[in-house]
């Protein structure tokens, strides 16, 4: 399911002909509403993609909340990347990152 959403992300990326300069454009919005989930995409300037899958029953999630969540995610991710010991592509094991993500998820639930 995440893979299909990745395909959708690639579609959208290829659809955009111009460079993504505005962070707003990085937010791809609701990628693909399925029966149970909603998938939100977010791509960074370095083509790192964040995919967020949300349960559709969670109707309280507004678009702006998703955006802010992606923002926080992006910031935490850059913090993780700053660590020279972190190799891009590895599983992120940063405690700060994990705690941020957990708190974010708790906040919406």
């Amino acid at each position: 399911m995440v893979h299909t959403s990745l395909d959708v992300v690639d579609e959208k990326i290829s659809a955009m002909g111009k460079a993504l300069v505005d962070q707003r454009e990085l937010y791809l919005g609701l990628l693909y509403p399925t029966e149970d989930y909603k998938v939100y995409g977010y791509v960074t300037n370095s083509k790192v993609k964040f995919v967020m899958v949300v349960d559709s029953s969670n109707t309280a999630l507004r678009d702006n909340e998703i955006r802010s969540m992606f923002r926080k995610l992006h910031n935490s991710y850059t913090d993780v990347m700053c660590n020279p010991f972190y190799n891009p592509g590895d599983r992120i094991q940063s405690r700060a990152f994990d705690s941020m993500v957990t708190s974010m998820m708790i906040q919406v639930c």
């Binding site: 707003r24 702006n64 802010s68 940063s94 405690r95």
Partner: protein
């Protein structure tokens, strides 16, 4: 070796020390590790220790026999006394004081030394520590008994544990725990019969064994010595000295073993010195770190790039995950580079980890960067230096977080938060787009919405708003207050700009709502949003189409007179903005009904709601004035041309917005209730617009109706009453002009004159109200600031 003559005291002391080092109870050979540790505790330079070892023959023999040990001890005493190390000096130096060793083990020794040489300091420290838990402390520091062997062994365990424990326990007690552990002699580091501080100890024990196992270099000797020294670290001054000694001893060990690389030795030293009360950095350690820093980056004020730091710390052979964690902890500003302080903290953590201490989840205070001040005090002593360290973090945060100077003081997180704040400023631009909220959002977050409007509005109070927003993140309660502030500011702005008032309010409201959205999810971002919004609103009513309603209706103010009013009010509004929060009395000129039409029409839906709300709120507040306004409108409507109506509308808006400010301040939620009013307003507005020259009769009527309904919503009408009275008088003075579309010119001109008079009156009233509003808002802001300061922050 040359013959060694020892005094009785020396003999006893040396035998104690030897038994301490003689972990294997061979009575013949003192364990290298212990010896090295002991030597480290002697606080002698590494080369001196090396020399001593050489002289005593240990190097030659490869081990410390009793005689070698004794000679070495004697040489230590010689060196500590300042005499040159010579083989002859062993016997030639008279009245040599007993060698002093500073370290846990050394504590024992130092105790002895103290007892022998009146080292009161050590004794004092120990006595304080020992007496308490007799149970635990099998080793009574106060007592002269040498539980050297056991303490030594336990020290090993303790070391790993002590660092851990020390943080947990008060320093005085830590030694006891050490003792306890020492009591449980474990053949190796792995055994740790930890009781009491057990939990800490065991992990350390494991960690210790793990770390020791992991490090081939250290496994041999370092664990015990470092542990022992660490144990002593728990004690305050003596401990720290021990720690310093460890580096020396460690080095010696390294040299003796010929293992190593300077890195290893350094690491060993680091290990021993990493835990000082739990995380303090001793002077010697710090000096060591600084030297290492220099090897990478000659400029002490510069940075070590991430790659270089990575290489350096990889040499410590810690797992990448742990190094990654250490980096996370120590790179305070998350810039991918290490300053001197950050480097020292990282180094310290590596040493600690090497010694078996678990990494903390959060950077300890003593390791906070910005310890730059401490370097000066480093010479003063460990304690002072360390104290300075802990003190510096508090100072540092403020420096790191310019945006939140007062807030960052206590918190390391504050720094982060400040960073986040900074991040927000970056993101605020993007978040601005968020301002385009649906009006639905606003009602959902009344508080946030309230908050936002204020910041946006007031340019002068932006700083206040930011502070408020900052506080808001910390505490939600601020929101209620800030929203009020926000609202009034919005309203005031609105009032200021007749035509643009509505837009301003709409904008701010819209911004506020938008920001409120983001606020809920990310308060800080919202602040930024608001900030930006403020800039928008502050810049000009005309600009910032984005979220808020279409450009200020200035264009819509076709009325020439309205322009004047706008200017007049704009000035006042500007002044009031600072204090606009809940301006009870000032009801922003609602009237805008005539004005509103233009802006309202253009505004997007949300803005509409907001604007109407704002417009209605002012109307609501000064119900009386509104009525007055309306009557005015009626009067004007009767005889007015479009312009006149506009004037009235402008005047009213001026008054109403002020009132609205107070209204909105009181309750944003009113928006919901006002929705219906808004509808009416909107209806009236368009009606007004359409009417144009037609009298204001229709608009006033709806407005009046709205006012009535809004009266319920308006809590603060006190001041308004006064103003309304004035208005009423003014309006009453005006002859009721029937709304006749086709009045003849004369009547129109007369009505024009009357309208102008009313305008001036209203303008005066508006300025007065705005002034009041400003004052109240200022008070409010100061109170909120105080409140914020008193409240704890809750980040994100």
């Amino acid at each position: 070796m040359e013959g060694l003559t020892l005094s009785d005291a020396e003999q006893k002391y040396y035998s104690d020390l030897f038994s301490y080092c003689d972990i294997e109870s061979t009575k013949k050979v003192a364990a290298n590790g212990r010896v090295l540790e002991l030597f480290r505790a002697a606080q002698l330079p590494n080369d001196v220790v090396l020399q001593i070892m050489e002289l005593c023959g240990a190097t030659r023999l490869g081990y410390f026999g009793r005689s070698q040990f004794y000679i070495a001890l004697k040489l230590v005493a010689v060196a500590q006394s300042g005499f040159p190390l010579r083989v002859e000096s062993i016997n030639t130096v008279k009245d040599l004081p007993l060698p002093r060793f500073v370290a846990s083990k050394n504590e024992q020794e130092s105790r002895h030394a103290a007892s022998y040489s009146s080292d009161s300091e050590n004794q004092g420290s120990y006595s304080g520590v020992i007496p308490p838990p007799p149970g635990r402390g099998q080793v009574k520091k106060g007592s002269v008994s040498h539980d050297t062997v056991q303490p030594r062994t336990s020290a090993d365990q303790q070391e790993p544990a002590s660092p851990v424990v020390s943080p947990q326990q008060s320093p005085p007690t830590s030694p006891h725990t050490w003792r306890k552990h020492s009591r449980h002699p474990s053949g190796g580091n792995s055994e740790r019969p930890l009781a009491g501080p057990g939990p800490f100890w065991s992990p350390f024990g494991e960690a210790q064994s793990g770390s020791s196992a992991g490090d081939a270099v250290w496994s041999g000797h370092s664990p015990p010595p470092p542990q022992e020294t660490w144990v002593s670290f728990a004690d305050t001054p003596p401990t720290s000295t021990l720690l310093t000694m460890h580096p020396a001893s460690v080095q010696d060990q390294t040299t003796v073993r010929t293992v190593a690389s300077a890195t290893t030795a350094n690491e060993i030293r680091r290990q021993s010195s990493s835990y000082d009360d739990p995380w303090k950095i001793t002077d010697e350690q710090r000096q060591y770190y600084v030297n290492q820093f220099k090897t990478i980056q000659p400029d002490l004020n510069g940075f070590i790039p991430g790659s270089a730091a990575k290489e350096f710390f990889t040499k410590s052979k810690l797992p990448i995950l742990e190094l990654s964690h250490i980096w996370e902890l120590s790179d305070f500003d998350k810039d991918g580079a290490l300053t001197l302080d950050e480097f020292c903290a990282a180094f310290h953590l590596v040493v600690a980890r090497k010694n078996g201490y678990d990494l903390p989840e959060k950077l300890p205070e003593s390791l906070m960067p910005k310890l730059i001040d401490l370097e000066d005090s480093a010479d003063v002593g460990d304690q002072p230096g360390e104290v300075g360290y802990s003190g510096s973090p508090a100072e540092a945060p403020p420096s790191k977080s310019p945006s939140m100077p007062s807030l960052n003081q206590t918190w390391p997180e504050l720094n982060q938060s400040s960073e986040q704040w900074e991040t927000f400023s970056e993101r605020s631009s993007s978040s601005q787009t968020l301002t385009q909220f649906d009006s639905n959002i606003a009602p959902a977050d009344p508080d946030t919405a309230i908050v936002h409007p204020v910041p946006i509005r007031m340019t002068p109070s932006k700083i206040h708003m930011q502070e408020m927003e900052l506080k808001r993140t910390g505490s939600d309660h601020t929101n209620p207050t800030s929203p009020l502030l926000v609202k009034p500011s919005d309203l005031s702005e609105e009032s200021k700009i007749n035509s643009s008032v509505k837009f301003a309010s709409g904008n701010t409201v819209a911004d506020g709502y938008s920001s409120s959205d983001s606020f809920t999810s990310d308060p800080e971002q919202i602040g930024n949003n608001v900030t930006h919004q403020r800039s928008h609103s502050g810049t000009s009513p005309d600009n910032t189409a984005p979220p808020p309603p279409p450009p200020r209706p200035q264009p819509s103010h076709s009325r020439s007179s309205s322009l004047d009013m706008n200017r007049t009010f704009a000035v006042t509004t500007g002044q009031q903005q600072a204090g606009v929060v809940a301006h009870p009395p000032a009801v922003p000129p609602r009237p805008q009904p005539s004005q509103a039409p233009g802006p309202v029409v253009h505004r997007p839906v949300d803005a509409d709601g907001l604007i109407t709300h704002t417009s209605t709120s002012p109307q609501q507040i000064p119900e009386q004035p509104n009525f007055a306004d309306f009557s005015q409108f009626e009067v004007f409507a009767a005889s007015n041309v479009n312009e006149e109506q506009d004037d009235e509308a402008e005047k009213h808006p001026d008054i109403l917005p002020v009132e609205k400010a107070s209204d909105s301040a009181s309750s944003l939620r009113v928006a919901k209730t006002d929705s219906k009013i808004e509808e009416k307003t909107a209806a009236s507005v368009p009606a007004n617009v359409s009417k144009g020259t037609t009298p204001l009769a229709p608009p006033p009527k709806p407005v009046r109706r709205r006012l009535k309904s809004e009266d319920e919503l308006r809590p603060e009408v006190d001041e308004h009453t006064q103003k309304t009275g004035v208005l009423a008088a003014v309006l009453a003075s005006q002859p009721s002009i029937p709304r006749s579309v086709g009045k003849d010119k004369k009547a129109i001109q007369a009505s024009i004159r009357r309208n102008k008079e009313t305008n001036t009156v209203l303008a005066r009233l508006n300025s007065e109200l705005q002034q009041q509003l400003k004052d109240v808002l200022e008070e409010r802001i100061s109170l909120e600031v105080q409140l914020e300061q008193l409240r704890p922050f809750s980040h994100l």
